[in-house]
Point group: C2
Chain length 166, copies 2
């Protein structure tokens, strides 16, 4: 196996093996001079993978700050990290950061996202019946995968989409 | 123990027991019309706690994107999450998100940060000797602690600082 294909295998295991991510959004606060003041906000999100649409899928509450932020600005960044091991150093922990665009799905357009989400999180079914939750696609644009010391590489949208198909 | 003090105990265990966080920064790309285009960026960071200064401590490389971002805009958001348990649902996983300001420390001002960092990460000592790494204080402003379903609360700077002192 080449170095590249070994890293690809590791990343696929990370993406499909983990269930939660950190989601960074832009939080725009009204400014005094019509110039809005923007800060980053990071929140915890369970995620699923919709391999048909080649996207990551979130399920967000209308009441959540990140949902308000996504409505104002769809640019997001998502971090998925291998688990900390109490006995091991953490600096070389495997992770992937994915830049993307969020698309809030109308209920009638969410069938594929819903199926992918409930496949991973069957326990979330009652929440998906509530009207104030919505499915969100994260369409990846670029990424950065760190698999350990000296094992980092940039990922294109095409590489990321390929990883989300299987 | 009151509900509040039980949550405080849980949060203290989370902050002192975990070693890594997701750091959201603002990434500002040069715009065509002198209006810069801003996106969020999230990255993986090991963190320590400097209980003397009541801050979180990071150690960043001059080459890292988050370091460039911090120099342009010190507003950050940090997420610390309890470990996923393979046998358990993840939606109610405990986490805390902390909004704060980053202060890049000159080497001569970094003694307390360095001591706190090396207490937690003795294996990082060789990296702290490199000239292209720098210590960063994260001064907390507000936070949001979710300890489970129906157990969420906002945290003030004072509450966060108290949690960082012991």
């Amino acid at each position: 196996m080449t170095h590249e294909s070994r890293l690809g295998r590791l990343l696929q295991q990370l993406l499909w093996g983990r269930r939660t991510a950190a989601l960074a959004t832009l939080q725009t606060l009204p400014g005094a001079e019509s110039v809005p003041f923007t800060t980053p906000a990071v929140s915890f999100v369970p995620y699923a993978i919709d391999s048909t649409a080649q996207v990551l899928v979130l399920h967000v509450s209308a009441l959540a700050a990140h949902t308000r932020n996504l409505r104002q600005s769809p640019a997001v960044s998502l971090l998925i990290t291998a688990p900390e091991d109490a006995a091991q150093p953490v600096h070389a922990l495997e992770r992937v950061a994915i830049q993307g665009q969020a698309v809030l799905l109308a209920p009638e357009a969410a069938a594929s996202a819903r199926a992918a989400y409930l496949r991973r999180f069957p326990e979330a079914a009652p929440m998906t019946a509530l009207g104030d939750f919505q499915f969100v696609q994260i369409i990846p644009s670029v990424g950065r995968h760190v698999a350990g010391f000296g094992a980092a590489r940039d990922l294109s949208a095409e590489e990321l989409k390929a990883l989300l198909t299987s």
